[in-house]
Symmetry: C2
Subunit: 198 residues, 2 copies
Amino acid sequence: MVTTSNKSERVPSANLNRRVERSRHAVLTTAFELLSEGGVASFSVDEVARRSGVAKTTIYRHWPTREALVIDACSRMIAEQETPDTGSLEGDVTAILVEIAHLLPTANWSFVLPSIIDTAERNPEFAEIHSRIQRGHAAPLREVLQRAIGRGELSAYTDVSTIVAALLGPLFYRRWFSREPIDEQFVKAIIKRVLASL
Amino acid sequence: MVTTSNKSERVPSANLNRRVERSRHAVLTTAFELLSEGGVASFSVDEVARRSGVAKTTIYRHWPTREALVIDACSRMIAEQETPDTGSLEGDVTAILVEIAHLLPTANWSFVLPSIIDTAERNPEFAEIHSRIQRGHAAPLREVLQRAIGRGELSAYTDVSTIVAALLGPLFYRRWFSREPIDEQFVKAIIKRVLASL
DNA sequence: AAGATACGCTACGGTATCGTATCGTTAATT
DNA sequence: AATTAACGATACGATACCGTAGCGTATCTT
């Protein structure tokens, strides 16, 4: 940036940022919470102002428009998951899917995701966000599959995308479509079927 | 409330119904169209009135509230699919999945479904509708699997629900989550994997 | 201590929507 | 032909939301 030297290009100081950050953080937290409850559709800046205690005028000083705030709040959902390394493909895949199965009924993002998908269906900005969230979910799985290919545990010609769909699809299906419980037995059954076919 | 005399029970005549049906039909058609475009969230009675040419007052004579109309329009999406009968399980499953794969990128309901799922996440009435739509999609698959069990082609202890999730999940995953194309090669790969494990 | 910066509060104007009321008109019933 | 039922047009009150303006206050910077 700029040196504080001769006259100045006014670098924002730490204290100043602390103040700005306080309201920014309060707003984003509330926004995310509101999003979890009602989805993108029922999200309103007025409500965020009411709940967070931050004045609406202040909110509009940080975000130019409602949509910008929603998008910013959505980005909070891009939660990278850690990639396990058990040594075997089956171990890795099991670890990942059990974790996801555990998160699906409870995690906040699982309530918001349909709303984002819906919005993404008609709004490119949300399509981009959805794409990032999606990649985040699939990333660990892709990695352990690639590693298995590296070890020679899988053929180098394996179609990773298909396997990912075959593994994640059934879980997501149960969470949002058939709304059946996702118990460990189910997860194991899916894994067994998919891996047996490789 | 007056009896029309001793004899008749004032059955609404055909002509009267014709008139009522005309507006009912116009409204429902427009409502469904509007739903396909913008989802449940952006659905408005005023817009239906504008597009359909039916006066808003008339709409409210038939549906007590906006939500009632939306729900009624959503019900139009419960499109039963026909169940094939090729003689073999693989033939039947292939026929069903290819058909779905063909519909997923184009059919109107595929644009609205995320919106319904989102709404269903917090609204019991929509949860019920979603459940019916869902059962409609899975029904043919369940049936051909049951038939296969009947023929002895599958073990009587096969968990049908798991197989359905394993087959439909990957397709839905690609349509709404990873947004990858669903070509015939992919469908065949999924079917092969799942059926090989039985 | 003095000036700059971010904030809170209240109040707008504008728009969209819901659901209702009123009243005149058209179509169907008898 | 007379009556009844459904419809259309307009207007309305109520509410919620967006985004902005004005102005005073608290906090930070120097």
